[in-house]
Amino acid sequence: MTQTVPPPVVADPLRTARRPARRGRWTGWGFVGPFMAVFALVFLAPIVYSIYLSLFRQQLVGGNAFVGFENYTRAFGDPAFWSSLGRVTLFLAVQVPIMLGIALLVALALDSGRLYGKSFFRISIFMPYAVPAVVATLMWGFMYGTRFGLVGNINDAFGISLPNPLSPDLVLLSIGNIVTWSFVGYNMLIFYSALRVVPASLYEAAAIDGAGQWRVIRSIKLPAIRGALVIATIFSIIGSFQLFNEPSILQKLAPNAITTSFTPNMYAYSLSFSGQQYNYSATVAIIMGLVTMVVAYAVQLRGMRKEA
């Protein structure tokens, strides 16, 4: 059809194409504008302001001064910061695989169709996620009590002496337990919904080929939910690095086991709110943001590699 177009018309598309393009440029901005304004204000501005803050140092005596990257060099040599980062990294390495493993197991069990009372099971696993983290931590804090709490009751009932879950050696484990309890249901739901969209024809084909349940899981289900696994892992990484609520609330019960620099976020919090070191606090927050981004991105690259 295009062969029949006469030569003079060829110039027209160029002109007409240019005009809408020019008008379109502004129209587009008009639509995106409100979003961009809000985005800049509530998303970019705080980050930019934090970066700005991190380049200064405000003192109680002596006022404010530009110090360049001094806050960053200080952070790199700050043992409190590194030990807090080490602690959440350990938490990440141990708690996240356990939590995701349990979530995956439960999701596969639900999806297998061999479970009685599936809906009840599903909702009760998910329920803890609906409990706010603060309430969950308070609840577990009571249970961990060696005197009037559940641990105390067990000790009394059996005449034994369980180790104190809130002692310095065990407190990270206790926090991991709370987080796992809270988030297994959430991750299970991500996995389960990914499993639900696997076409039944694949299972039928597998059955015809004589594949057993294990084979189905390994060759169909797991590859099908790879994306969900990666997403859940990334969420968990971010959550681990941002650990704050649970230790912060338990600190009241175990002030000596949970220091003010227990996790990077707690460190930033106490620097800012009890030490008025807003500048250094901003620095710690920015470094943690970058670390989280790098680790999450690395996981995403690795997780998505084979799919591309």
């Binding site: 005596v61 000596n256 943001g289």
Partner: protein
């Protein structure tokens, strides 16, 4: 209440969500403007930031006397929360209140930062002798007076007499007897502890204060921190024994377990400030009638030396347009008719006249089995050891007490080493903040 919050504020959990990159861009707390209407001619308006509940009545009475004055009483948070908001407002230069409640230990921090108005220009120095010595010393910084004392916390021994009677143990009058009593109580009934302690900066510094220690020496921005003096040593020697022998319960203060322990007789004593009765009445109601008050245990038999534990007063932040009117309110609330109003509401006053009044001293506490507890508490106020100073950055120092000295309660670190670690970290912070600390 004020002292209770003072003790917990370091651990106060602002249930803020997880912090993210935007953390440092914390919001300014100034949500109330301070009007600068006609301050001279009796009228005008005041914005007051305070959490002391009894002030509501004081404000109402003040407004009755000054119908032209418009007062806004704002609870901008308790203790540290309010200080953060105040610091932000001062830094931002807007929304600064005309009057702010500030605890004694935090006064130097604000005074050094030139965030408070020196009250001597309004004649606050004429109030010398009006207040008991502990609080009065605490509100002075150099030549200036930066706060008028509202309440105080001279320390005393609160004890569960029922427990002491049941186990046949004498109530201690010295710290040596206290240690003996701790052993005797715990031996007679292993579920009973003489006290609970998991490391509390306020208690520790008050104990050192009473023992004659003066670890903090502050002269303007020149600060010395020394936790090796004799007074500190007396405290650590005693307390290390208490920790080593397992005589202290590991329940943290102000938790549910703690209140239960005070109520069911497993925690037998409290050595705290005079603001405690109201807290016992409300928090440990089931033990009403069991508790009594005794003078604070002494380091030497026959002495009567005490220390302060908590307490707060009212300050005028720098930069307010209504300083004169604000001072009028300060004087009314802390040295005028406002004092009785607060006493009626259960506060422990800082004014000598009230501490010596028959009515105050003669008050029989039903909670303490009809004991005239104020006699002991008022005597304690008069016996507070002089010369104690807090750091100009005590708020921060207290917040890291458990990171350092607190480790003595859960590890092999000794209390003395813990305090030295605290000293080291406090020195580092002070120097970072532009003080000259050693």
């Amino acid at each position: 209440m004020t002292a209770r919050t003072r003790r917990t504020l370091v651990r106060t959990v602002a249930l803020a969500g997880a912090l993210s990159l935007g953390l440092a861009a914390c919001s300014g707390g100034g949500d109330s403007g301070s009007g600068s209407d006609d301050a001279s001619g009796g009228g005008g308006s005041l914005t007051i930031w305070a959490w002391e509940p009894a002030l509501t009545d004081v404000v109402a009475d003040f407004q009755e006397d000054h119908p032209d004055v418009d007062i806004e009483l704002v609870n901008a948070g308790t203790g540290n929360d309010q200080y953060t908001a105040l610091q932000n407002a001062i830094a931002a230069g807007s929304g600064v209140p005309d009057v702010a409640q500030i605890e004694y230990y935090a006064v130097p921090q604000f005074a050094i930062g030139e965030s408070l108005t020196d009250l001597t220009e309004f004649g606050a120095d004429e109030l010398d002798g009006t207040f008991s010595p502990g609080p009065w010393n605490a509100v002075q910084q150099g030549e200036g007076i930066y706060n008028l004392p509202m309440d105080s916390g001279p320390m005393a021994l609160f004890y569960n007499a029922a427990v002491f009677d049941r186990l046949g143990v004498e109530v201690p009058t010295t710290w040596d007897e206290y240690l003996e009593a701790a052993r005797a109580l715990h031996a007679a009934d292993p579920s009973v502890y003489i006290a609970s302690d998991t490391g509390d900066a306020g208690s520790a510094t008050s104990m050192i204060w009473q023992a004659g220690g003066q670890p903090y020496q502050v002269d303007g921005t020149d600060v010395t921190i020394d936790f090796t003096d004799e007074g500190t040593q007396k405290y650590t020697d005693l307390w290390q024994q208490m920790i080593d022998e397992g005589l202290l319960s590991d329940i943290s203060g102000w938790t549910d377990e703690w209140y239960q322990g005070l109520g069911n007789g497993t925690l037998a004593t409290l050595v705290v400030g005079a603001w405690m009765p109201a807290n016992l009445e409300s928090g440990v109601a089931q033990a009403s009638g069991d508790w009594r008050v005794a003078p604070m245990p002494q380091w030497e038999a026959g002495q009567s030396v005490t220390a302060e534990n908590g307490g707060s007063g009212l300050s005028i932040p720098a930069g307010t347009q209504n300083a004169e009117l604000a001072y009028e309110f300060l004087e009314y609330a802390t040295a005028g008719d406002g004092v009785q109003t607060r006493i009626d509401a259960g506060a422990f006053p800082a004014t000598v006249a009230d501490l010596e009044s028959e009515e105050f001293l003669g008050k029989e506490f039903e909670y303490f089995g009809g004991q005239k507890a104020n006699e002991i508490l008022a005597q304690s106020a008069a016996d507070v050891a002089e010369g104690w100073q807090y750091l100009p950055f005590q708020v921060y120092a207290n917040s890291i007490f458990n990171d350092t000295a607190g480790q003595a309660y859960v590890s092999d670190t000794t209390l003395q080493d813990g305090l030295l670690d605290w000293q080291e970290k406090s020195i580092a912070y002070g120097n970072e903040q532009g003080f000259s600390v050693d």
